[in-house]
Symmetry: C2
Subunit: 333 residues, 2 copies
């Protein structure tokens, strides 16, 4: 199983009886260089005959661009948000012949340094951060080094830079109206603890609930850990003053609500109504199906790719792009 010698443009040139430059001109359709049709054809024939396949590597080296970008998240790769977005990014990039040079790195100690090393070592052309919580200093490093990058997340970080986000929180009033219509008076929010920056979900919940004139509500937070989530929700549902409607800040909180309710003998949607913020592959599969405000993850990926490509080509790009979410009704509400 020895290494084959791969065909180079020199081979094609020899075969076609032209120079290497001509091969390059033909294959790249260079604007201001006119090639005689028969020469062009000779090159094309040679390419086909030899089954020539230009080396991206060499090309990238010459042009000082690799046509590949890094994608980064601080979650598990198996996180649904990330995977779905990645799919969009991939499709978006491939339209411009860009490639993903995947990284899924947790935020390590010297993350910024590693980021730049990776960027340099692989001659990346840019970065997409999908559901990664960026520190201020990371922004600084990227900007200082003139690295094109785009952030994809649920909501804007407000730190400048280019971001693709969604308007899912604007569906809260609509969601509340639905809860009310279905008879839930006492509402509660359960969701993850705020992490690095102001999480707009609790505030949005408060505003929405007050808009509907309810005073008797609660916002409950806990770390993103199954046991603690279960615990918190059990306490909530066992309390004498338990809510009739629950909005979960993430799908996982929603699933735990469903599961806990069943264990306590509460019927959903009979005794309790539930809706969740965010997208999951399981919303239609769980029992009962989960009503949710779903994020346009795939589109966010595609759009992120578009923006990054624009940036890499030194075009001016809009700072924050907001894509519409959608309230999807299922059995839980």
């Amino acid at each position: 199983m020895k290494k084959k010698n791969r065909i180079s443009s020199k081979d094609v040139a020899r075969e076609a009886g032209v120079s290497q430059a001509t091969v390059s001109y033909v294959l790249n359709n260079v604007e201001h260089v006119k090639i005689r049709p028969e020469t062009r054809q000779a090159v094309l024939d040679a390419v086909k005959k030899l089954n020539y396949c230009p080396s991206h590597i060499a090309r990238g080296m010459k042009l000082n661009r690799s046509m590949s970008v890094g994608v980064i998240t601080d979650r598990s790769v198996t996180n649904y948000n990330f995977m779905k977005t990645l799919e969009g990014i991939k499709d978006g990039l491939s339209r411009y012949n860009y490639t993903i040079n995947l990284i899924f790195s947790k935020q390590e100690e010297n993350f910024d340094a590693e980021l730049m090393d990776y960027y340099n070592a692989n001659r990346l052309d840019g970065f997409i951060f999908a559901f990664a919580m960026l520190e201020d200093r990371t922004h600084d490093v990227l900007r200082t080094n003139g690295v094109p990058y785009v952030i994809i997340d649920s909501y804007a970080s407000g730190r400048g830079g280019h971001e693709v986000v969604t308007d899912h929180l604007s569906h809260l009033p609509e969601l509340f109206a639905l809860f009310k219509k279905k008879g839930a008076e006492k509402m509660a929010y359960v969701g993850p603890q705020v992490r690095h920056r102001a999480d707009p979900r609790p505030l949005a919940f408060k505003e929405a609930v007050e808009l509907y004139g309810q005073q008797d509500y609660g916002c409950h937070f806990c770390p993103f850990n199954d046991d603690q989530i279960r615990n918190m929700i059990q306490n909530l549902l066992r309390s004498p003053n338990r809510p009739e409607g629950i909005i979960a800040g993430t799908p996982r909180f929603g699933f735990h609500t469903l599961k806990t309710a069943a264990e306590l003998g509460l019927k959903v949607p009979g005794d309790l109504l539930v809706a969740s913020l965010g997208t999951s592959a399981f919303h239609g599969l769980c029992n009962p199906g989960m009503t949710a405000v779903e994020l346009p993850l795939y589109d966010m990926g595609v759009t992120g790719a578009d923006v990054l490509v624009g940036l890499m080509n030194e075009k001016h790009m809009e700072g924050i792009i907001t894509l519409p979410s959608e309230l999807v009704l299922r059995e839980s509400l």
Copy 2:
């Protein structure tokens, strides 16, 4: 935002007052070249001072290896099996300083040709196929061209080549014993239609069920489509002779079983016992929790990477490596 000129080994050489060759010797720890300690130190200092970061690209070009491999699946990227495995592949490869040059391509028309083009264009060093159904001719193309590759899947294809698989079907007898112990006499299998090759699941089910002396069982297949799955399972559970225990060929079939049972007023695990083959992020989150034979997906990825690296270094590698699955008990059985 103009392109910075990146530091090259030439810059380091100049800074350290040595030649470019010496920089290379030092950084690569070349065996049979002795460098004076002070020279070495000078180089190292210059590297640190300039924050030099060698170009993988240029190195790959010179060595005719890119230190990167392609990873391929025929599923959606958002497939849990694939992503979890990918995580393992990534970690495995990075131990050898290999990089993933991700592709997730559906089996298109001229898949083989594209595969080789991609291989050549990006100077890949090898391929890993994770949950991709390979045609015979793809095997042929890869072998003819001397491309190192490894297949990761649930069960061996039996087509030769190097494969990393798991023994999950060997847990069926154990699973049946459990069903019997919990009181399920009538068993049934529900799962996806066989696709490109012999799916060992139905046969393994039959053998296992017969081992336990039950004659009255059924194997039910349908396309991997939510509506059809629901339909099939509804019919099964409504039949007068309905099974008391169901083994689902994939997690999705398991979730639909749970959901359908609930809708028909059947209690799990009271009226019906359920277990599924395969891994999912929702097994612990669904209601009730799903007992399942879980695949060592991450480890399969790591092992696949190990095998491929061996192959790329022209070592002899074992043909088929089987990793142990694990029966994880939850509430559904």
